[in-house]
Every structure is written in C-alpha cells, then in structure tokens.
Symmetry: C3
Subunit: 339 residues, 3 copies
C-alpha cells in the first residue's frame, strides 16, 4: 500500500472494471466481481492488490508473488502462482498504467492563494488555481484554470500557461508560452537567455536572445532541466514530449510531438527533431542537425550528423546501431588480448 | 519582430548608423539613410528588418529571405536576393551582435524592493537595485549599484556582488566575492561546500571547506550550473568567462580570462585553466590538471592529462585532435566490417 | 586564514591536542605545547598554521611551505623544510579532516523562524530549528531538532526529516523520509515523480509513481542533484552515502551504505548498489542492474551489465578495468598511425 502520508487510493474497484478500463482480458478463473483494493509491486502485494509483470527479469518475483491479481502477457500466464487472478494484455505496462491511474487519479488542486505568494496586480489567474507559499507571478502573466504553482516557483512577466498545468517547487519560467496539462518539475529553468555570443580574443560579445520557448500540450519537463529561449526563432517543444531530469536544450531547438528525452541528455542549439524521437541518457547532440521522426539515439551517444527518419544510432561519434554493436564487441575482444 | 510581451525594440536606426556601430561596411547600393526597424531571423525578416548570415548551412534561407538588410561575409554577397541591402563584415555574427545590442540594450533595472523580499538589516544595497519578490539577502552581504536580484534568489551572509549584476530566479550564492556586470542565470548554485571528505571503510569524514568563490567581471554563469567553493584555496572564475547551463565546477578550480565552457561540462577539483580555453558540451576534465591558454577540448572528451597552451584534444581518454579524428574514422570503418 | 566574512575559527589548539584527536603522531622535534591558530593550504600557511600534504603532486609546495606544522605520511617527512613541525599519519587527509573539524566545527543553528517563512499549522518542528526567510514547510511535515531550512527551501506535505539536518537554499523535498545529520545542498530535488510512462505511438501514458525516497543517516546530497521517488517500491539512499552535484538517480534505485557518487553521474531506474560503491564523474549506469559492494566505476563509464562485488570497470560499454586500460593504450596508438 502506498504511504498514506503521501497518497490516497481511490478504490476499491472490481476486477471486471479494471479489465474494461485497461483493455486487458480476464483469464480463465479470474472473477470480474472480485474487489481490488490497491496496486502494489510484485514483492509486496497482498491478496487484495493487483500488480503487473512487464520486464522478464522479474519473472521470479511473479512466480512467488502473493498478489491477488496481476496483469501479464499471455505467454507468462502459465508461470503464475496458484490462486492469482490474471489480466492478459499485449502491453502489460500500458494496461497497468491505466489501472494505476484509476486508483490514483491526478487530483484537481485545492484552490488557494497563499498569503506569502506574490501575484502582480496585472497578472491574470484562471479559476480554481492553487498558488503555494512563496510563488511569484510577474506582470501581465496569464495562468489558465486549475493550475498549481508550487512553493517558490517563479512565473516571470508575460509568460502564458494553459489550463491544468503544474509548476513544481522552485521552478522558473520566463519568455514562454505553454499549453494545457503541462507538468514542469521542481527546479526546471525555462526561457532564460541562450548561450549566444560572438567569441573574440578581446572578449566575447553577447548576442541578445529575442525568441521564446513554445511548449505544446501534455508535456512533462523534468527536475532541474534547462530549456533556453530562442535567439530569434523560438525554441519549440512539441505536444506530448516527455523530458527527464537535468536535460539541457539549447536555443532554437525544435522537438516534434512525443519525443522522449532521457536524463542528462544535451541538445545543442538549432537542432530539429521530428516526432517520437527517443534519446537515451547522457546522449549529446550537436547543433544545427536534423533528426528524423522515430529516430532512436542510444545512451551516451555523441551525435554529430543528421539521422534519417527511423534511424538508430549509438557510440561517439555516433554510427548506425548495427555498426556500433559490432564495433563494441570487437573492442571488448581487443581489450582482452594480451600481447 | 520579437514578441512585445517580452521585448521592446529601441529602434528604428538608420542603416548608416548600424554600419558605424558594428564596423560592417555598406555594400554597393546600400542606402545609409534607410531606416531599419528591428532585427529578425532570415526566415521571418521583412523589408524593414536587418538579419545576418553566419553559418553557411543557412545560405538557402539567405537567398530567399525577405529581409530589407543583412550582415554577411564578402564572399556570400553575390548570393543575396535582389533589393536586399548588405553590410559586409569579416565576422558577421560579431557585427550582428553589436547591431542587435543597439536594438535591445540591456535595460537598467527599475528600482524596487518587493514587500515579500527579505533583506537583513546589516546588508548593504547599492543604489537603484531591484529586489524581486521572495528574494533573500543575508547578514552583512554587500550588493553593488543597479543589481537585479530575481524572484526567490538567495544571497547568503557575507557575499559581495559588484555593480550591474543580475541574479536569476531561484539562484543562490554563498561564500562568494563577485565582480561587476556578472550575470548568474536561474538556479545556478555558487559557493556551497566542495565534495571533500576522507574516504574510509568505516565511513567518510567530511573535510571543512574553507575557501571562497572569486568571480571576475563580465562573467555569465548558466542556469542550474554549480560552482563549489574552495577547500582552502579559492575557486576562481576569471573575467569574461562564459559558462553554460548544468556545468559542474569543483572546489579549487581556477579558470583564467574568457574561458568558454559549454553545457554539462564537468571540471574536477583543483584543475587550472589558462585564458580563453574552450570546452565542448559534456566534456569531463579530471582533477589537478593544468590546461594551457587557448586550449580547445572537444565535446564529450575525457581529459586525464595536462594540455599545453593552444593544444586541441578529443576523445575519452582525450588525445590530440588529429589523432582522435584519425581514430574515429578507423573505428567507423571497423564497425562496418562484417567478418 | 579563512575569510572572516564567512568563517570563524575555534582555535587555537596546542599541537599535542591535534595529535590526539587526529591519531597522527608527533615527529621528533614537534612540540606538543606549541599553539596552532588555524589550518591553511601549503602555499598560504604561515608559522602559526597547520597544513597537510596528501597528493604527491604538491610535494614542491610542501618543501617550500611556511606552515608552522604539517600532517604528512612518514616517507615524506625528510622533505619537510627546516623548522616545520610534523604530524605523521598513514592517511594524512583523514587526519587533516579531524584537525580541520576541530578548528571549524559544524555550528548548531541559531534558532529562528523568519517572518517570511511559511510553516503549515499542522507541521511539527523540533526544538532549536532555524527556518530562513522564504522557506516553506507543508502540511503534516515533521522536522527534527536543530535543523536548518535554508532560504526558499521547500519541504512538501508529509515529509519527515530527522535531527540536525541542513537543507540548502532553494532545495525541495517531497514524498521523502530522511534520517539524522543529512545535508541536502542548494537546489537538490528529492521525491518528484520518476520518469515512468508506457510509451505508445498514440502518446505516452503516465504511470502513477507511488513510492517514496528513503534516506539514511549522515548522507550528503549535492547541489542541483535530482533523486526521483519510487514507482511502487521506494528509492533508497543508504546511510553515509556521499552524492556530488548534478547527479541523477532514477526511481526505485537502491544505494547501500557509504556509496560515493561523483558529479553528473546518472543511475537509471531500479538499479541496486551494495555498500561503498564508488562511481566516477559523468558515469552512466543503465537500469535494473546489480552492482556489488565495493565495486568501482571509472569516470564516464557506460555500465550496461551487473558488476560483482569488488569489481572495477571502465569504458563505454564498460569492461573490466584491466581490459579498459589495455584497450585505451591500443586506441591511443592506433590514433597515431598514419596509413
């Protein structure tokens, strides 16, 4: 059971209802009327909990789990312990996501404006927002309905936020236009000047950064991630992008829809990504590149050239994934050779 | 045109004036009396805007641009579209920087001390500062004239800031002495304890960190960058250094003048850099090294040895750049070989 | 002498007392009654200061130091300048740590609740805490005795902090249970949602993150480091862990006791480390791995497989350290070969 100091479950739900909302089918012997109290990991779940098996690494924990019910792929069903009721799904993690959302729906904020928050008189706040202590909203900023502005978060002058956005503790936004249902995690920095200057032996000359950050709908931006505003064009984050912690996104970068950017990735200025590009942790992508839709970039890659749509690369400098796997095997062998 | 919610242009300026202040020369047919209203990117500029071409990747956008005027290198002049007036400069980006600064000068802050700011009675504030809501200035801190302390920024006890500094939202400084015209971006962390302890199998023993962070003039420190104070000696950032986002600088590190440190670089404790060293994104530099003036370190390098003045390195472990380029070509070829 | 604007020394101490508390032995000619006023680096120490030599790179500075006393290893004693009194220790850095702590003990906070701090009426605060301006403590949070909550730091609802903790400026915690004597540096982000969602071509589906972050005693967590809470299980940081700046720790990660994680390391979800594991700067460790106790991971490694207890690895993909050293030498040679 999730710690009640931090979470409260919206259950119980009958198993049949969980099957319906997740699209997972009830296996033989699974009782649609059985009440399920909560979700829980395989190791700690009890008879009133539902769990899931997605990564086969954890098949052992599945086999010995005390969970009353479990979402699994069809080919794992025969390894279930006696008495466990099964929901069968081709993508158990996705089905579990829907079930867990039913138990833990994202709550609407409890409307409040804390006495120590600062809201400029010219700012506009939508209905039913919650502005936590120490939060700051600058001149002429416009905040949509049902937003939560976390403690000590900062919305600088002129910024626009859509409806149902969450801004985490201590995060800051400037020069940004943000869509609906966007979550900005604690400490994220959005809209500051890009790293633009003319280098020179007598000293570097700052170039005014005159663009914005445009963020679509349903975007998540991780803790302490930094997204610089454009230099003239805008920096653009497409709808549905998932950006992890400590990511750096330079000025003028454009991400299409649904890109997944794992922690500590760096994307240099003016690079453009299509839709549903995935970049693994700590990858670095140089500036002014075009990365096609559906491209996949392995963790720690160093991308220095364009990638066609659907391309997969790894290594530094990055090469096609098949080449990189061959090369890695070869290098591992070379390391073992004593002369 | 830059979004008027965030920017206001100080124009128009006659083309002749822009030529003078940038040092770029008027090409044949360029009318010094023509009024220019604003700067804009090649793609979106209109007849009253001035733009620039620096990276030849964008020559196509230049050729089809509707910009009324443009700063270019001499050898690109003949590719200009009909009717575009040209300013010719050997370094068009530098000339553009000066022109853009003329349209968007850094404004002096509008003096204000927000009611929710906290300024310790023993702190000293120079004239015409702006202290935004939620900002905190500790005991005996000394802030120069015309500084802007952003919302929820924190200046801990004893810190000294020169004139015309900007501290971004949520940034914090302790144990630091800072020069004039320094910009510290949102969320930067300056002056906390270095990572100093004696490791031991029975537990690690913290070593008191007794130095400071000394920052010169005209320095920029990027968003969410961390600079630890010295362990006994000081950590030193020379005048004119440009430090990007999410950079880590360990205790006792010394940077000379004008170093350029790109995003996500890490510099370990006690390493010393000369003047105008450049380190590419995600490079890692181990501790106790000496990096000579003018050295250049490629992105993602792993530097484990001293670099002489003017040296250029790449790879991990880093090697001379020429070697690294040869090696990279060889490895790319090896990856393609099926056995 | 450390800058009195930031530090005040608790001396002087007689040399004999420093010998006792550090376990270092007085060398021939060292007077136990000699009063020592302060600690200082070799380069700047004077006749009333004690210094130390740990890294042989600095033997030159030792030989010419004006320090009145110095902690060194036995085999360096004969290189000391005339008149310097020596304390001999097998691990001079550890002995110095104890001596420096005697001069600069961590002060108990001066109890205060700033008028601009916000403490929810349902929160509990231990005795003699200091809550700095702009700090926020949420509903039902419980803070132990003698904690210092820095300016604009945020303790979200329900969080538990033990005794003698320090939370730096602008840091934030949610969904976390923290032990005693834990130091959280400025801007660290603890307890936010992990990067958990089911990817899909129609859009990604957020998976509720229902675990916590459990932190032991005597832990340090660096500036702007991010530690996500568990997805169902908890994220666990064992007692005595030292975590540097800008580190990313994913959901469900478990660190044993005394792990040392250097700056900019990334540890992906569900990886488990034993006790006293050390990971060098910028290393990346993929998810769902088991890293045995005492394992050592070189800087910038890319760890993709389990590591046995005591194992040492380097490179990306990581290989046994001996292999990596051989391979690096080979690659350096290949880079030099002109064909």
């Amino acid at each position: 059971m999730a710690d009640p100091r931090f979470f409260s479950a919206a259950g119980p739900h009958p198993l049949g209802r969980l099957s319906e909302l997740s699209g997972a089918t009830l296996a033989l012997g699974a009782d649609p009327g059985r009440m399920v109290a909560d979700v829980a990991p395989l190791e700690t779940a009890g008879p009133t909990d539902i769990s899931f098996l997605d990564n086969r690494k954890y098949a052992g924990a599945f086999t010995t789990s005390k969970a009353g019910a479990c979402v699994v792929a069809a080919d794992m069903a025969d390894r279930a312990p006696d008495g466990m009721m099964l929901l069968i799904a081709p993508d158990p993690y996705r089905a579990y996501a829907l079930i867990a959302q039913a138990f833990y729906p994202r709550p609407a904020p409890d409307p409040w404006i804390a006495p120590t928050a600062w809201i400029d008189p010219s700012a506009e706040l939508g209905e039913n927002c919650r502005v936590e202590p120490g939060a700051v909203v600058g001149a002429k900023a416009r905040i949509g309905a049902r937003c939560r502005l976390g403690p000590c978060s900062v919305i600088e002058a002129g910024v626009v936020l859509g409806d149902d956005c969450v801004v985490g503790a201590g995060a800051s936004l400037s020069h940004a236009i943000v869509g609906d249902r966007v979550t900005i995690y604690p400490g994220a920095r959005i809209g500051q000047d890009g790293f633009g200057f003319a280098m020179g032996a007598q000293g570097h000359l700052k170039v005014p950064q005159l663009g914005r950050v445009m963020i679509g709908d349903d975007v998540e931006i991780g803790a302490n991630t930094t997204i610089d505003r454009g230099a003239g064009p805008d920096t653009v984050i497409g709808s549905g992008c998932m950006i992890d912690n400590l990511v750096q996104i330079g000025h003028n970068v454009q991400l299409g829809r649904g890109c997944v950017i794992v922690a500590q990735v760096g994307i240099s200025g003016s690079t453009q990504m299509g839709d549903f590009v995935a970049a693994g942790g700590q990858a670095g992508i140089t500036g002014h590149l075009k990365i096609g839709s559906g491209a996949r970039i392995a963790a720690q890659s160093g991308v220095m050239r364009d990638i066609p749509a659907g391309g997969t690369v790894g290594g530094a400098p990055a090469m096609p994934m098949a080449d990189y796997l061959r090369l890695s095997a070869l290098l591992a062998k070379m390391g073992k050779q004593k002369k």
